[in-house]
């Protein structure tokens, strides 16, 4: 702060060659961008198409898997995480750790299977007289 003018030059000189001239910009090559876009559109078509088939209980897993591939493609290339400082990636991924904790802990309790809980309200006997 005190000797601003000169230390700027020296500091940046050892962190980067050439003060303020170091090209930290990383323009992503256009073919890569287009390639990622085509892959994303392709995966969207795949995920729409698979919805027409009854794949049973693994359906949701397949859907989420495709969505995750798309998300990873977007994050790595459109959001430059593949070329970014690793710290940003760590920050980003750490959020998913907490999302995972949040969702799994909440879901594990959501069914309320413990005998301490009452029955699930909607499981009423089928034959019930209702006055209209």
């Amino acid at each position: 702060m005190s000797d601003h003018g000169h230390s700027a030059n020296t500091d940046s000189a050892h962190s980067h060659d050439g003060h303020a001239e170091g090209d930290f910009a990383h323009p992503i090559p256009l073919p890569l961008l287009f390639g990622v876009f085509i892959a994303l559109v392709f995966l969207t078509i795949v995920t729409v198409a698979q919805a027409n088939f009854d794949l049973g209980s693994i359906d949701i897993a397949i859907v989420m898997f495709i969505a995750t591939i798309k998300a990873v493609l977007v994050a790595l290339f459109f959001m430059h995480l593949a070329f970014d400082k690793p710290f940003n990636l760590i920050v980003f991924l750490s959020s998913f750790v907490f999302v995972g904790l949040f969702v799994t802990i909440t879901l594990s309790d959501a069914k309320m299977t413990s005998p301490a809980n009452e029955n699930i309200v909607d499981e009423v006997p089928v034959a019930v007289s209702v006055d209209l």
């Binding site: 930290f24 990383h26 323009p27 969505a67 977007v74 710290f87 998913f96 879901l107 007289s129 209209l132």
Partner: protein, 423 residues
């Protein structure tokens, strides 16, 4: 901020702690940063932290989704049939394309292609507007049908598109609410029409007064404002292709119910569905009439035969309806599944289906609010890009807005299959 570029003319004898002008810094480099890279990295870390809060914010809604879907998988499956997959898919494509143009725009700001940068940001904005246009078609369509959150949900397969008068009469809405629900598309379009008109006036005024910069800003912004209506048109075309979506659903459910009795021959199955729809079309005043009309006696006679279980069920269902219409009791709906009485019993009750639509509006609505916020910052970016503020050492704002835009895209990537593609 106040000064023009003062890259040159290094100071000689300035007091260091005076926060005047640091003349060896370009105007875009804040005083507290030593190098452009340091400024860029700090900003980037900041935006990443913001994106983390966004993910945690959305995770609450995804968690609610997971709980409700786990408890009521059949409700989610049934109700998601009301969402038009075509509209969702086209919106996914639009959003992916806008992500491409945004990433490309970041590249252009780094390589100092100013004209291209403006064009790409304008394209991203237009895509955002198209997305909202398609969304308003989706929303207004559902609001008119009564596919609303719990408490207000009033969809009935018998009368898919009730008039405002019917909404007041049957569903107890106030007249203004009913008017809004039947004309919601106009209400959704109105603000965008006003904006488009405003931008057009701005364009004309700036052209006449000869303000070249404002004219250059207004030109792309008019295209952006108008592309909302492009989205509305696109949505209308796709929605009309998927018209009677709900009908198909009900008909399919009816077929399904009939198919359960293996030996119900096909013509009768079709007849059942037809008659069910006939009943649906008539108002409740005619409910006491037998839906089978003059054929009823013949059907009853045929149903005497033990093997004719399809017709037997038909008669049972018919009698159930009679009882219901007389306002007495309805018992054990599980035994009579040939009539329409069981279809609302599955997922389409206000209490159950409303939960799905509550989640649907909550998630897509908050996502749409993020799109609106993105449009706001992108307009700011567009104007700065026209001013040629960005260069290869100073492209941070483009990059940060880009990252935000990609997060919006990322959330939609998950929302689309989770809401539209359930089966």
């Amino acid at each position: 901020m106040a000064t023009i570029d003062s890259v040159s003319s290094p100071t000689d004898a300035h007091a260091d702690d005076s926060h005047g002008h640091d003349h060896d810094h370009p105007s875009w480099l804040a005083h507290h940063f030593e190098t452009p890279e340091q400024q860029f990295d700090s900003g980037k870390l900041g935006i990443w932290l913001f994106l983390v809060t966004e993910i945690l914010f959305f995770s609450g809604m995804f968690c609610a989704y997971a709980i409700l879907r786990m408890l009521r998988p059949e409700v989610f499956e049934g109700c998601s049939q009301f969402l038009n997959t075509k509209l969702g898919a086209i919106n996914t494509g639009v959003l992916l394309f806008s992500s491409l143009t945004m990433a490309w725009a970041v590249r252009c700001s780094q390589t100092e292609e100013h004209k291209k940068l403006v064009a790409l940001i304008a394209t991203t904005l237009s895509c955002a507007m198209v997305f909202l246009g398609v969304k308003s078609i989706e929303y207004s369509h559902k609001w008119g049908m009564g596919l609303l959150p719990p408490g207000t949900y009033f969809y009935s397969a018998a009368n898919e598109h009730p008039t405002a008068a019917q909404m007041v009469e049957l569903h107890g809405f106030s007249e203004s609410t009913a008017f809004f629900l039947t004309n919601s598309l106009y209400f959704l379009c109105a603000p965008f029409a006003l904006i488009a008109a405003g931008v057009f006036i701005w364009l004309v005024v700036s052209k006449i007064s000869g303000n070249a910069f404002q004219y250059a800003c207004a030109k792309p912004l008019l295209v952006v404002a108008l592309s909302f209506f492009g989205g509305v048109g696109l949505g209308t075309i796709l929605e009309s292709g998927g018209e009677h979506h709900g009908d198909e659903h009900v008909a399919a459910a009816g077929d399904h119910a009939d198919a359960e009795h293996g030996d119900a021959d096909h013509s009768h199955a079709v007849a059942t569905v037809d008659h069910a729809e006939e009943v649906a079309d008539e108002s409740d005043a005619n409910m006491v009439q037998t839906p089978l009309g003059d054929d009823y006696a013949a059907v009853k006679l045929l149903a005497e035969n033990e093997t004719n279980t399809g017709l037997k069920d038909l008669v049972v269902a018919e009698q159930t309806q009679q009882t219901m219409a007389e306002g007495k009791i309805l018992k054990d709906s599980s035994t009579s599944d040939a009539g329409i009485s069981t279809i609302p019993g599955n997922v389409n009750t206000p209490r159950q289906a409303g939960v799905f639509f509550g989640i649907y509006y909550c998630m897509t609505g908050v996502h749409a609010i993020h799109i609106l916020a993105g449009i706001g910052v992108l307009v700011w970016l567009l104007i700065r890009a026209i001013r040629q503020d960005f260069n290869r050492h100073y492209f941070g704002p483009v990059d940060y807005v880009g990252l935000y835009w990609h997060i919006v895209d990322l959330i939609w990537i998950y929302l689309f299959p989770l809401l539209y593609l359930i089966r």
